[in-house]
Symmetry: C2
Subunit: 387 residues, 2 copies
């Protein structure tokens, strides 16, 4: 493939290498770094995988996914997301990342333009360029005051050459969730336009603030052109299992299905059975998890409220908070380097998520409350030394 | 991505759809179709996966693969293949197909030329075009008389624009294995040339004829430029598990590692633990399997010997035999359609493996001996009606 622009290592890798080095020196790091649940995969999911393996779900299978899993995903989409689709419009993929890659590869042609929202998950940019090396990427920053979509600027950017817009709500890294006015605005701007809306909803169930998650695919005006991406990693602590899915109408599905056959063959069938067991878990499964995220979000807000050099637009959902450090006068890399070296707290520099976000850092909320509290206290202490 | 040339459905899918339709009509089909072992994944492998899942090997992990698995692969490569590499030169992938895709994406640039050997596994051509839509593919047919590499024609085709040659021995579909003179010939033609040799060795352990498998990566003259592809599917009946690996020197490894991070994140860690258990199985594990393949290969040869319209160059290894049907006067699609419709035996038309192989059909040897014997008898009867 054409590798005209440099593809960076993934943020997961860069971070974990550093943490490994420090742990190797025996230093006790509190990590606000990675986006991975800190509890084990639920036992019912592990047991379902074990049972399916023993039953022989170990062979080649349908590239689209097991029919029973795709039916269960349709039921979930109708019930939780208001998205009405047939199982032929759902494809199971080895991870949500692969779902996004296949979606991009299927809709982009050389020279096509893509709008990408910043700050963003750092793999989006390399994923776009791997899918279509000749894509032209336009980055659109969220509004700085409240992390909402800048619909006016979006309207200006939407030329006929723009073939895809990628969104991700609940948002990594800001924790912003799509509001009804924003969704209506997207509907107004995109409907009838020859532009795919790729909606990465991987954090949808982590909506601890009580805000309701809105799926663009549920809007009649957008349903035909929306490609919904989701997965099991963040909700069910199945990050290593590599299972996600994409939802799209036939023209996209025909292409992604062929790409899947030639790249992935199929998703491991016993892992698909495990995902089916995950979907069958009661909603209450998520209560503790969301309450813990909420408690940590509130703890962070309390500390920020009494720390003049920090500002925070509270997270509504997802795994992260995005902290404004502009008053410290440090750039995000310098800030985070000092934080880990002097206070052994690992956070992620805002610059990784977009060039305009040099004055923010990302804090993962998914740490036990005791460690989290200690971590934010160390953060406060660190900021106190900067003044 | 650019989809200028039509990408077909994979052969696995086309075949299984037809077989499903006929099974739906209650007809008892004997399948000589697919390349999948007919026994379950070994219990020790299933148990290792179960244990690892319970131990928490369910999280994000090293994109290159678990160190213990890569070390075990290095040991295997040294012992069985004579390939001397460090674990940093091995990357675990979700299937050998993905290993090939990543290898192609990493070495091909727009306009680069690739030599592909025909007949070939039908996914190779779409995989090349997905990896680099602007690649120029030169197909080189094996010699018709004995399925060996045509080194004279290869020499003529090797211009400086050719950046990769893909080979696959033991060969699908012919069962040919690379001989020492062929390997030496490759060494002579490729050494010192700026051309990658991509060697797909997925069938290496299925060498039932007693012929020794030769790995190009073991040849000092070729070691630097060889990318070895392998996997666990065919040897250990782990087709659905999606685990393979690629072996390459640093310049390739740097790129495939980044592609892996952004496309696949990592291979499921508990599946990597299962693969480690597979590598620990005693060599005797394969004896029955290879003896059964040999018995079926011999059964086929016996029937062909007394059927004037059929000819066969015996398989040396792999899962298949490639039968010459030219004397029947039928093209391979017509032949196979009649065979399945009138005698309920599913075989794969040679045309799927290359346009010049219209007068061959592929027979999978991996069926229990009783069914296989009945299948070849039906085949013989069918050919008798064509005269």
């Amino acid at each position: 493939m054409k590798l005209s622009r440099e593809i960076q290592d993934s943020i997961e890798l860069r971070f974990s290498t550093l943490a490994r080095q420090m742990n190797g020196r025996g230093e006790r790091i509190i990590s606000f770094g990675l986006g991975e649940p800190d509890f084990p995969t639920p036992p019912a999911v592990v047991e379902a995988a074990t049972k399916a393996m023993r039953q022989g779900y170990t062979r080649y299978s349908n590239p689209m996914g097991l029919p029973e899993l795709r039916e269960a995903i349709c039921t979930k989409l109708a019930r939780e997301n208001g998205i009405q689709v047939r199982s032929g419009e759902v494809m199971v993929t080895p991870g949500a990342k692969m779902a996004l890659s296949l979606a991009l590869a299927s809709v982009l042609r050389p020279g096509d333009e893509v709008i990408n929202i910043l700050p963003c998950y750092p793999s989006y940019l390399p994923q776009i360029l791997i899918a279509e090396p000749e894509a032209v990427i336009h980055n659109l920053d969220l509004r700085r005051e409240n992390f909402s979509l800048d619909l006016d600027r979006l309207e200006q950017m939407l030329s006929p050459k723009v073939k895809a817009l990628i969104i991700n709500f609940p948002h990594n890294p800001t924790g912003h969730m799509l509001s009804r006015p924003e969704l209506n605005g997207l509907g107004h701007l995109l409907a009838e336009r020859d532009c795919w809306l790729i909606s990465d909803e991987i954090y949808e169930r982590l909506n601890f603030s009580g805000t309701r998650h809105l799926s663009p695919g549920s809007m009649p005006a957008l349903a035909e052109q929306t490609i919904t991406i989701n997965g099991f990693s963040k909700t069910y602590s199945m990050t290593g299992w590599r299972i996600g899915y994409l939802v799209a109408k036939e023209p996209v599905m025909k292409i992604v299905n062929k790409l899947q056959q030639h790249l992935n063959t199929n998703v491991v069938p016993f892992i698909q059975k495990a995902a089916l067991a995950a979907l069958a878990l009661p909603d209450s499964f998520l209560d503790d998890y969301n309450q813990r995220l909420l408690a940590n979000a509130q703890r962070l807000a309390e500390i920020v409220a009494v720390t003049p050099a920090l500002r925070l637009q509270p997270s509504e959902g997802g795994l992260f908070a995005f902290l404004d450090i502009s008053q410290t006068g440090l750039d995000s890399d310098t800030f985070c380097s000092g934080l880990i070296e002097r206070y052994m707290v690992a956070a992620t520099p805002g610059i990784y998520f977009g060039p305009a976000w040099e004055d923010h850092i990302r804090i993962s909320l998914v740490t036990d409350t005791v460690s989290f509290t200690e971590g934010v206290q160390r953060l406060q202490e660190y900021v106190g030394t900067l003044g």
